[in-house]
Symmetry: C2
Subunit: 427 residues, 2 copies
């Protein structure tokens, strides 16, 4: 028994290394592929998705049946479900990526040194990117097409609940593009959803250049703990709005409502409201009433509970760190903009934070002092998104500070190299 297990472990290790090698070989070919070639592969993928709708839905049925057997919630089952309309939408998303500018091969800068060396800094694909994600099968195609458009090979590892759908989607797009000349290792889905396979993948730093985990905080923490490959991620979005003492308070009601209520389950939704002490007396009762009418549960600091007429739960220390992802909001009264900045830099997640003010000097203090990817004046935090930022597509959002910060589009899927043109220079 133990011998069989060991043999299996050896086989898995070898199979994973083979996947890594295939991806790296493909990446070297992709790095020199033209925009026209890459677009022709993407086009074949989009058409194949439309043509293979029936096959994909059959595979998805298996996942749906297993999901029901395993007691997945209705919300999770809905995320898992593929319909002809949804598959067509996935294909159209691929076509949209074709229309975007190729981020690779751009000359970022060019200098000629006194000794005559010309040094060009040129954008190039990153190489091999690993995506680790949960449930939604559309991520399989979205992530693959964005990586490929930028010239990267991709290794996809989805959740076990979507494995049949993911494999069917990957086979469909990969076969179609390979028929048009795409190298075979360019898009690979791991057929194993075990922890062992991920564990091996996260140590394959000779083959993978970047890991992007997409999912819950727990998944992401595990990836960061284990990986010897650079990881870009966001753990969570604890977003703040600070209401300054001078501000358009009517507009504040609308912006706060939008940031909290429009889609409370997403990472750029509002979690904590900070209010300047000089605005608190009049504004706290107004905003409390406004939000309670919209079924928002409020948790406040002692001063805030005092000012509100009723129905505010006292906030605990944990509330200031909390990403509720639901219609719950913590509210705290602070002394001034600096106290707001300190609160955000201490309890926040570096995602998206906003000041509502009519004083542009205070606004600049806030913009400069808050250490987050996206800092707003007088607008909802809900705009932190590749599409809303005009990037055309989004592979994820980073609260890291290295390489990419905030919404990540196609340019963030490239790195650069220096090309140096000499005429015999020596040191």
């Amino acid at each position: 028994m133990s011998e069989t297990l060991n043999q299996n472990a050896v086989d898995l290790q070898e199979a994973m290394l083979q996947i890594g090698q295939n991806a790296k070989s493909a990446a070297h070919i992709l790095a020199t592929a033209s925009s026209a070639e890459k677009n022709s592969w993407l086009n074949a993928m989009a058409d194949a998705l439309d043509a293979s709708t029936e096959t994909i839905i059959q595979a998805n049925k298996t996942d749906m049946e297993n999901g029901k057997k395993n007691g997945l919630s209705d919300a999770m089952l809905d995320r898992l479900l593929l319909t002809p309309e949804r598959i067509h939408a996935i294909a159209d998303a691929v076509r949209h990526v074709i229309s975007l500018d190729d981020p690779a091969g751009k000359i970022l800068s060019s200098t000629t040194r006194p000794n005559g060396l010309r040094i060009d800094k040129v954008s190039v694909p990153i190489g091999v990117i690993g995506i680790i994600y949960e449930s939604r099968p559309n991520v399989t195609v979205d992530a693959a097409t964005l990586c490929l458009k930028a010239g990267n090979a991709v290794i996809l590892r989805g959740g076990s609940e979507a494995i049949h759908s993911n494999l069917a989607l990957a086979k469909c797009i990969s076969d179609a593009a390979i028929a048009k000349g795409m190298p075979a290792g360019a898009v690979q889905v791991l057929p194993w959803t075990t922890r062992e396979a991920v564990g091996i993948m996260l140590k394959m730093d000779s083959y993978l250049d970047l890991i992007i985990p997409r999912g819950g905080e727990r998944l992401i923490r595990t990836v960061v703990e284990q990986s010897t490959i650079p990881v870009i991620k966001h753990y969570k979005g604890v977003c703040h709005i600070f209401v300054d003492k001078v501000c358009d308070f009517d507009r504040a009601l609308t912006i706060i409502e939008n940031a909290k209520c429009q889609r409370p389950g997403v990472c750029n939704a509002l979690e904590t409201l900070l209010i300047h002490k000089e605005a608190a007396k009049t504004f706290v009762p107004r905003i409390v009433k406004h939000l309670q009418e919209r079924n928002v549960e409020l948790r406040g600091c002692p001063q805030c509970c005092e000012l509100a007429e009723s129905g505010i739960i006292p906030a605990t220390e944990e509330d200031w760190y909390a990403e509720y992802l639901s219609l719950t909001l913590s509210v705290r009264i602070v002394d001034d903009v600096n106290a707001a900045i300190d609160h955000i830099n201490h309890y926040g997640s570096g995602h998206s934070d906003c000041i509502l003010t009519t004083d542009m000097e205070t606004a600049e203090t806030f913009l400069n002092g808050v250490d987050s990817s996206s800092v707003y004046v007088n607008a909802s935090t809900r705009f932190t998104d590749g599409g809303e930022f005009g990037m055309g597509a989004e592979i994820g959002i980073s609260t890291d500070k290295l390489h990419a910060r905030g919404p990540m589009g196609l340019p963030e899927l490239t790195t650069y190299k220096y090309k140096i043109y000499g005429s015999g220079q020596v040191r």
Copy 2:
């Protein structure tokens, strides 16, 4: 006994967290410091180094005596040694950094969206940077000043052999700058050189944003294995020159000699020479003679050993991976530019590689196909260096692909944030 050990472990953990907190608080102040303020602190540091030469040399004497007792090699003792001239040179290096452009606070791009939101992408300091390094005490000051110039707080962890010198240097520069208003946590040297302290530091991802290890491959691998903080590094420099079939062969001798012999112990020195098979018959005997006259030990592929008159050792598979860091060179005959690219992408380290050719089409194939930070045509690989690239200063060289690739100067010590100016926009 065990209780004492546990108590010490708790104390160390707490002391490390305090250092992290101090650094993070300082970083938030540094992020809004003006260029003039930062330069005034750097100026105070440079003057203090000159003024405290005697004290620093006393501390260095302790390290030198311990080093001799512990049997450090003459080369290591020389790297450790501080003299009045060397300290003055360190102070002048600080003054040079003052003269460089502040990389933070630059507007990298600005877009106005159809809904009126203005999105500015602005360069900002990374935050808190940890530098882990060996022996040379000048790194303490060089790394601290570059980090500070870009607005970052820094935690320095040098080698045990230089601990007295490092602490004296850090105290000297830190005290002087604090007297001019620099926040106290901006520059900190760990007083412990134990593995435990580094182990704790590498998990302090709530306080540190980036680790840059500088030293041998073993040190760097340990850091990557343990760290939950992003790491930028280069393990080694296995640099190649490929001699194409058409090329200025006289100039090739000079470039190869320069890349191999001028300073063989550095990461951008040549380690493997690849020669096009059609050039091999005439060029192999010439380059072998040329290099043997310069005391270079050669290890060749079978064909190469056959073509050389004498004295080439047959190369093993390990030779193609080797970073000799000495007057040893491996030589291999390859079929064409594609075989050269495949060899480099397989055995190389992604550092610096060069083609010598007069055929610019082949040159472009090589420039595009080789997956390295710096790819050269007709020049020595020895130019991969911040100074030679015109960056003015260098914090290290990256063979990673994320965030920074190749020589890293001041701009690579910044990240960016988005500042979004609205007028009430909601989604």
